[in-house]
């Protein structure tokens, strides 16, 4: 659906991601907002306090990871329960390269992506024979195998002690504060999300979706299933690896319990809530899954402060409410936040003369 008078006269124009001038302006404003938000000061204090900045940082990192799993599960239709472990592979790779080999962060991040892509493709080999829930169980196995490796391969991973890793630096300047590190993460996130959006609207992305929707007719149309299933695992894991490495460097510490099965499930929940097969949905999902528990804890702490006698109860309810909200979401918006977003946009396009 287009605005009245929004005529596109070239295919090039018709293929743009941000199609109208209004949206282009909105995106530019949003980008500027993201750029200046951490440095805005009010009466000598940062507008965005340290704890909030941390949340924003984690949302950006989770967005990269969520886009990754959405490429595999949402676009190619291969359920993965191993995203947590793949994040771990990336984190450990970058940790090993920076902390133990003493190489730069700028080597560590791409290496983390590539090593994880390799690992993902190896664990993706069962996908050539297994589909649906069976594949989910196979990827669950990869989660456990990798977790075991994290814990046991002590010479590389530091075993249960984990590894302490440095923050990145360029030419003597170290991005030691969260505020400076934020800009690195923001840049990486923007590049990777745009890359994914482009990928999904060109040849490779269409092949992924074809494999998801009807693999037999995809094959008849000349798509090599073997190649595209593995490629999907590879690209998805590359995103997981980079996200994991950025996460590790944000904490300055990597250990195996940060990448357990719970993380995998949170990432799966992100894309289901955000919208399967949607880049913007992955970002919405990441925002939702990171922000909601924090908001809930703010609420419960406020309740606990005022009503001391139900304080314990309120805090223990937090997880229950979190679960409840997710269930309600799935009932009332099964197609995810991305779908809701589309509806809102469609509503305003026709406002006030809706049919």
């Amino acid at each position: 659906m287009h605005y009245c008078g929004d005529f596109r006269t070239t295919y090039r124009k018709d293929m743009e991601i941000f199609q109208t001038p209004f949206i282009k302006v909105c995106m530019a404003v949003f980008l500027v907002f993201l750029l200046v938000l951490p440095v805005l000061k009010l009466k000598g204090e940062y507008l965005l306090k340290g704890a909030y900045l941390w949340i924003l940082l984690q949302i950006l990192i989770a967005s990269i990871g969520a886009v990754g799993i959405n490429i595999l599960t949402g676009y190619t239709g291969q359920i993965s329960l191993g995203q947590g472990a793949f994040l771990g592979v990336g984190a450990y790779t970058s940790a090993y390269i920076t902390a133990k080999l003493g190489l730069s962060f700028w080597v560590g991040i791409p290496a983390a992506g590539l090593v994880t892509a390799m690992a993902g493709m190896v664990f993706g080999i069962p996908s050539l024979r297994l589909k649906g829930l069976y594949l989910a169980i196979a990827t669950l196995a990869s989660q456990f195998i990798l977790e075991w490796i994290f814990l046991r391969w002590e010479s590389v991973t530091g075993g249960s002690y984990g590894i302490t890793i440095p923050r990145p630096s360029i030419a003597g300047y170290t991005f030691s504060t969260d505020r400076s590190y934020y800009y690195i993460v923001l840049a990486v996130a923007i590049v990777m999300i745009l890359f994914a959006a482009n990928l999904m609207r060109t040849r490779t992305g269409r092949a992924f979706m074809a494999v998801r929707d009807h693999y037999i007719s995809a094959e008849i149309m000349g798509i090599n299933l073997f190649k595209y299933r593995l490629l999907s695992f590879g690209i998805s894991s590359f995103y997981a690896g980079v996200a994991g490495a950025l996460f590790g460097h944000s904490l300055k510490y990597v250990s195996s319990e940060q990448f357990n099965i719970g993380v995998s499930i949170v990432y799966l929940a992100m894309i289901i809530i955000g919208g399967l097969g949607s880049i913007i949905g992955s970002i919405f999902g990441a925002v939702f899954m990171i922000l909601l528990p924090k908001l809930l804890s703010v609420v419960t702490e406020a309740v606990a402060a005022d009503y001391a006698n139900i304080a314990k109860l309120a805090i223990s309810f937090e997880h229950g409410i979190f679960g409840l909200i997710i269930i309600l979401f799935l009932i009332f918006e099964p197609d995810g936040l991305a779908h809701r977003w589309k509806m809102v946009k469609a509503y305003w396009k026709l406002y006030p003369f809706s049919y």
Binding site: L199, A210, G222
Partner: protein
């Protein structure tokens, strides 16, 4: 030399003999129909041509090249496209994306170039978009080009599936019941498209169809199958008056058919 030669193929699933020694030659530039009652093995022949099934015996030759036993995704590269009996479109993708997917083999840029988009990948997308838009024009589906296929009515889906097959720019087009479940008007449209594809674009067409009226009107040659065996072949007029064919369809007693069934 015919474009496609099916030479004495046998296909069995366990004890069930789906195809029992069928040979069909499809001449270049023809519209060739395969008809027959349900379970006669028509779709199995299509699956043998597109290598979804591998016949236990016999060969399929396309342009003097043996294709039996090839991997299915190689077949498209040779210039064979097909549609399915139960529409096999990509339901969550738009009509445009479905057709662009048909251009997959003609697009050359890999995922790195696709992710960067600007430059070669965009140029390639635009070039192929033009080709796809020609097909959209031809099939008169301009209005639905941005709609997800899953939201379309049945008749339009059939048309989109034809479009997807066409965007491969095939030499041979296999159509599995292109008119099934359509009303008269839709059938007439589809028949017109098939004739145009054949005459204007020079595509050889092999089709399976139950609507005998359509088959007799548009095809140059008809093969009749029953119980996995070819019981008749010829010009539409000849086939229509063949007593075996009449009996296979009407179900009168026929020693020849009973022997086939007993095998």
């Amino acid at each position: 030399m015919p474009l496609l030669r099916i030479d004495d193929i046998h296909l069995a699933f366990g004890g069930v003999k789906a195809i029992n020694g069928v040979s069909i030659d499809v001449g270049r530039g023809r519209i060739h129909a395969i008809i027959g009652p349900n379970g006669a093995g028509k779709t199995s022949i299509f699956n043998c041509i597109s290598c979804v099934y591998r016949p236990q015996q016999g060969t399929v030759t396309f342009q003097d090249r043996k294709i039996t036993g090839m991997i299915p995704h190689r077949i498209a590269r040779l210039g064979i496209a097909r549609t399915f009996q139960n529409i096999a479109l990509f339901h969550h993708m738009t009509v445009l994306d479905n057709l662009m997917l048909g251009r997959h083999l003609f697009l050359k840029r890999g995922f790195l170039s696709g992710g960067i988009f600007l430059g070669p990948a965009r140029k390639e997308e635009i070039e192929n978009r033009k080709i796809v838009e020609d097909i959209i024009d031809f099939l008169e589906i301009e209005k639905i080009r941005k709609k997800p296929v899953g939201t379309l009515p049945y008749g339009l889906r059939k048309r989109v599936e034809l479009g997807r097959a066409l965007s491969l720019r095939p030499r041979l087009l296999l159509l599995d019941e292109p008119m099934a479940g359509m009303n008269l008007e839709e059938k007439e449209d589809m028949a017109r498209f098939i004739l145009d594809i054949n005459e204007e674009w020079g595509v050889t067409i092999l089709l399976i169809e139950h609507d005998l009226g359509v088959v007799m009107d548009i095809s140059h040659r008809v093969s009749v199958l029953d119980f996995g065996v070819k019981i008749s072949e010829g010009e539409p007029g000849e086939v229509a008056s063949d007593p075996h064919v009449i009996r296979a369809y009407i179900g009168e007693d026929d020693d020849f058919l009973r022997k086939l069934e007993a095998r």
